[in-house]
């Protein structure tokens, strides 16, 4: 956005909000402020997660160390695990060591040799004997693939269906599209997912859903993701169709749409340009937030289709009580959500000239 000076209004009648079209320096200051807030936010999430997992054993009287010793709980084993997991440290010490590791890396002594966990060190999973960060980075592309593809589908499908429904309000199309949307919103992923698997994978044997990375085999990558994409997109497309329809109907009642018609503009321009421009604003906002939340892991979809993404990792970590992985996924999810919020706010300033960054 270029900096524009507002003209001195005639006799003070012009009010020209100075920050409305922000100068680069304002944007930079804003970004710095927001990013600082993001860091603080993530620290709070980390601390909270730490506190929760620190408190749970104390509240329920259970001992996480016992999960890793097998059927024969050797006292040396329990002590060794407590020490390795840092469970004997106070929560703030654990927190500080974690933050230190994030920034500077950290060493984990396993009693024999020292495992160096380079920055960003998200911790060490004793369940899997792996550093958390590589586990996360190996799972992130799967979740990214799932979210990006599904997002593309649901935006195209949902917005198109919503616009047509709004324009043909009350028609058979509208009623059936909205019934399907209601079904889409109401049906859980594990149901629609299983149905799609039952039809396309088991019964018709058309699709093999074993995941392979894009970089290894683009064809199989696509094949393995097509059902999850459709399943996930179905849920979101339904929500987006309803949102688009409602927004579009509201926008069509706006005065400026009447103005556009009064200018003699054709209905195509009125809808396609004037109405769509306004309709897209709330859609983009929700889209940013949804995408941010999805990048933390589409738990049900990933579990149903056995996609090795962050969501599936989180589920396994929870059933394994693998605290470092849980913490890592929580942090990644929180990171994406706060970043998505920031991006949405920035985007908002770009698409809506009335919004200022302040």
């Amino acid at each position: 956005m270029a900096a524009r000076g507002g003209p001195p209004g005639g006799a003070g009648r012009l009010r020209h909000p100075p920050g409305a079209t922000a100068r680069p320096s304002t944007v930079l200051a804003y970004l710095i402020r927001r990013l600082t807030a993001v860091v603080v936010m993530l620290l709070i999430v980390t601390l909270a997660t730490f506190a929760i997992f620190f408190m749970i054993p104390k509240l329920t009287g259970t001992d996480p160390a016992l999960l890793f010793v097998g059927k024969q709980a050797d006292p040396a084993a329990i002590e060794g695990i407590r020490e390795k997991m840092g469970l004997s440290d106070p929560v703030l010490v654990q927190f500080w060591k974690f933050v230190e590791g994030l920034v500077a890396g950290r060493d984990y002594a396993n009693g024999v040799d020292v495992t160096h966990c380079p920055a960003p060190c998200f911790g060490y999973s004793f369940r899997n004997e792996q550093e958390v960060w590589p586990v996360l980075t190996s799972r992130l592309p799967v979740t990214l693939s799932l979210a990006a593809g599904a997002c593309l589908l649901w935006v195209i499908g949902g917005v198109a269906a919503g616009v047509v429904s709004a324009l043909k309000r009350g028609s058979v199309w509208d009623r059936s599209a909205m019934s399907v949307a209601l079904a889409g919103v109401s049906l859980p992923i594990y149901f629609t997912g299983l149905v799609s698997l039952a039809i396309f994978s088991y019964a018709l044997d058309l699709i093999n859903v074993d995941y392979e990375p894009l970089t290894q085999n683009p064809g199989k990558w696509f094949e393995s993701l097509i059902l999850p994409w459709i399943t996930l997109a179905f849920l979101y497309a339904a929500m987006y169709a309803r949102l688009t329809r409602a927004t579009m109907l509201e926008i069509l009642g706006e005065d400026y749409i009447r103005t556009a018609r009064a200018k003699g503009l054709g209905e195509g321009v009125v809808i396609g340009k004037h109405a769509m421009r306004s309709t897209m604003t709330p859609i983009l906002t929700i889209l940013g937030l949804d995408l941010g939340a999805l990048l933390g892991g589409a738990v049900l979809t990933e579990t149903t289709f056995n996609l090795p993404g962050l969501g599936q990792g989180a589920v396994r970590a929870i059933s394994d009580k693998d605290l470092p992985i849980i913490l890592g996924v929580t942090l990644i999810a929180a990171f994406f959500i706060v970043i998505a919020n920031l991006v949405v706010d920035l985007l908002y300033a770009v698409i809506d000239p009335r919004v200022r960054l302040s």
């Binding site: 059927k71 994978s201 074993d210 056995n306």
Partner: protein
Amino acid sequence: MTSTRSSRRALAAGTAVVIAALLSTSACGGGDDESDGGNRPAGFNAATKGVVNTSTAKGGTLKFIGSQDFDSLDPQRMYYGFAWDFSRFYTRQLITYDNKPGAKSTSLVPDLATAKAEISSDGRTYTYRLRDGITFEDGSPITAQDIKYGIERIWAQDVISGGPTYLKQILDPKGEYKGPYKDKDPKKLGLKSIETPDAKTIIFKLPKPNGDFEQILALPSSSPLKPDRDKAAKYALKPFSSGPYKFESYSPNKGAVLVRNDKWSKSSDPIRAALPDKVTVTINSNADDVDKRLIKGDYDLDINATGMTQSGRTTALKQHKANVDNGTTSFIRYAVFPEKVKPMDNVHCRKAVIYAADKKALQTARGGPLAGGDIAANMLPKSIKGADDYDPYGALQNGGAANTAKAEEELKACGKPGGFSTVISVRNNKPAEVATAEALQECLGKVGIKADVDQIDGAQSSSITGSPSVVRKKGYGIIITGWGPDFPTGQGFSQPLVDGRFIAQSGNYNNSELNDPAINKLFDDAIAETDPVKAGEIYKQINHKVSDRADYLPFVYEKTITWRSSRLTNVYTADSYNGRYDYVSLGVAK
């Protein structure tokens, strides 16, 4: 078939009811008449009766699938039964279980050793000679020192925990050795009770005799390892093979690929068939999908072998019964009564609960005769020497029906003629256990015993029901759980449950806190006995005593419904692996 499918699809789009029906029958047409697998399915329960599709044909890929990953691949750290079974693909021990079906599998045969141990007359010295031609995956020979080093790793519980520690308790009961990682000896061979005079000889010196010592040596925790290949905790990510296969890759919670270890030679290994060229393990987070993929033919068998899901077994039994086995697992599912929790301290109150229980209803809650198991009369599984049909409470009479009259009689004898209140503890991650708890609750209600069901975090049970003080504090009068043997003897099954010296403050399995000197003494006698048949007689006595004390209400001798793909050859269930298929013998038809 096409018309059936298209009409199904049409209906599926139409109504949820039909979709649900589709879900349970969708794989129709994939199995019974399949011609691609080469073999016809051998028939229901065929692999529990003998060897299915005997073959020596090599090649192909054996494909495991499962919803639960290994607890560890490190042979000294694994405790899951399926992991022990699987470990024979890449580990060898001095002795191992025979590659024979059913009960014959429990006999021990030499593996790395040339013969079973030479046992000294006092039963305290075991000597083995090693075979020629035994190598690790890098081609270096497996020496007696490597075997000793591998076993020593069990002592390093502070670094590599999780596995069984029997050898530590037997060879070093005072805990004098601190494990190889803290070993001052330059060769890290400081454990006194194992001697390796040369590369081919290994001698175990037991402080006191143990008739099951060789059983314990057959566990994967006795696998060899070269010290320079030991990566301590991280070793679990890529074990160094001594068996016919080696790891090409392993990714926790995703899967593993094993390929042939070309340094392994069949001539040095009489046990492992090593037929497939490749063995893959796929971990799938969707248990329903696991079964569907098995039925569809994408995979050969479920590595976890904990039984198919309800929808999976319905489809399998209905449409592909010939691919299904219904084996017995050596697990008993039962309720145990902590003697320190009132009023279960009174034997009559315990008996009242046993009589009041409708065994048929409990069996049904477990999944019925096929998926649940046979009604159990006592606490020793059939695969253990000493097991019999001792049935002091008439569990097998009247089709397992409750004996309300007797229950009321016992309540009077207990001084609670109108019944009493207690709490049933049950693991929330085991649906069948929750169902049994509710069935039991209903039975008890009929004689006035009011039982509340408390669902506990299954993953945390070792620090809840495994802690006697927690049990007393929460007032658990009835704990519902299950137990299987680590090795198929009375010591392997019963001792952790009923020997008073095994009561632990956490991770306790003697939930009743039964501590009877007579029983403890009998265990000592049985363990000192080197003749398994004689030892079995003593375990029978122990079992009868335990039954008479009424500390246990056994529900079923567990059975499972497992899938066996038509491609599989040399399939049989092995009592040595709790009724699982003997994985290392399997081959695949091309």
